[in-house]
Symmetry: C2
Subunit: 325 residues, 2 copies
Amino acid sequence: MTEEKYFIGVDLGGTNIKAVAMNREGKIFHQQNIPTESEKGPLPVIDKLVLLIESVRRKKDVTRRSLGAIGVAVAGAVDMKQGICRFLTNFPTKWKGIPLASRIKERTGCTSFLINDVRAITLAEKTFGAGRKVKNLVCIALGTGIGGGIVIDGKLHFGSKGFAGEIGHQTISMDGPKCGCGNYGCFEALASGSNIASQAIRFIKQGRSTMIRDLVEGDLNRITPEVVAKAARQGDEVAREIWEKEACYVGIGIANLVVSLDPEMVIIGGGIAKAADLLFEGIKKELSRRVYVDPDVSRLKIVKSEFGDIAGAVGAATWAMMNVF
Amino acid sequence: MTEEKYFIGVDLGGTNIKAVAMNREGKIFHQQNIPTESEKGPLPVIDKLVLLIESVRRKKDVTRRSLGAIGVAVAGAVDMKQGICRFLTNFPTKWKGIPLASRIKERTGCTSFLINDVRAITLAEKTFGAGRKVKNLVCIALGTGIGGGIVIDGKLHFGSKGFAGEIGHQTISMDGPKCGCGNYGCFEALASGSNIASQAIRFIKQGRSTMIRDLVEGDLNRITPEVVAKAARQGDEVAREIWEKEACYVGIGIANLVVSLDPEMVIIGGGIAKAADLLFEGIKKELSRRVYVDPDVSRLKIVKSEFGDIAGAVGAATWAMMNVF
């Protein structure tokens, strides 16, 4: 009888590094997190990443099996074939061109495979999560930035150069605000998590009365999407207005993907997905307003990511698994 | 030796019905056009369509082979499985729900298959035209309306309900002008052929000096994209301004597909593609302005449809061929 293999998936984020150990059926044996401290630069972060991998590997329930491969999900552009981080979002510029896969191989003795974090989330949801029974779907990660993944005929679509799914940078308002990428009126420039906080600050500075100010004890730098969500759930008018607008923007971004790709399901992940209760109705309303090519668009399945915070790590493990099959 | 089969492809447009006879290698033996006269209603149009098919069939060079199947491309929504025209754009409303495939079978004795016209163009270009060596591409038909077709991993993507490719109805300007579909700020609402004429009329009414007025001898109803293109090629400033704006809108529409799908090639068809000389440079400029996720976007292959006016009919024949294989 051949020994059952397991896979380690690591999600290298700007704030935390998350790792899971998983078998081929998607059963998660173990999960562990550590802070990234990306300001220390690539070498210390790679050290931490390797320590996390070794720590997961040492766990008793895992070592009875043998490690098949390691997957690493990163927020940014990766060269998947060569295992190089081309550019990491929210990391110091020193991260350009780091051969992360070979570094991990040197240090752990195990082959590793890189993938963009949102493509990893999509893979996790498609293979073991909300989309496991669906052949055509779009996954959207709403967070500090906005990314996506597109599954066509059961297969994650990477595109000709590997960046397919960068849906946050579709233009939805051609003369709109400048985006971090350089373009104007990107979906991300209007609907990212940082926009929710900055809108709250703008309203407060305009003198609008809102409990958001009290929730952060007057310290506007502490305003986060979570705080604005808390206020909205307590009926705060300014907060509700911000979430309504957010639902409208997200609805437009989804509408554009629906008319182009006609998916069976849209999966929403990322930090902002935690405010699904404040968003989903507004998204559906906006879809009905914008998608005339599908008279039944109100019945489109829009669901939350099943893996939530660990979707990136689960997807990275899935990616490792797919590469050694 | 088995007899070589041939296929008839028909493109049922609002103005003309075009037909081609083609073999499995994409060799076109014969082509023929007649005016649609859609105002006469479905029955007379179906009569004409059947007469055209029979006329093509009678051609000496065709009848030595046997007819494999008939494909019909229509501008609008079709139920491909049931062979029903759900709704035809630019046709009287009486065309809703017409079981066109079974009508053709009754009258010609030959099985027929329906497909949306822009999906047909995409199929023609992918199989025998500009995209025959390309696995991931987007085809855009710029005409009175704007439609598209998406090829992923060598396969035309129809989507879960069959409307994938309706890229003309992606929102690029969320508070923009109303589109024929009901939405605001659609790519089509800003960049369709009818917009080119209406912009010219607007400029003339504003008192701007332009040779467009002379080219139509003062009859503004005669202004077409062709007339505006002619003026632009002769250096007319108003006309050049209109085409520059058009290139910018088309560039945004393409940019949105590039960031989402990362295609290897973009094929531009439809009547407006005849003004490629006035558009392509501006499109490339807009892509460089908007697509930051691909630093090499200036090298993206943007090409004209190879089949031009008969792309829809060739694609319909290709569709018929694919269905009887």
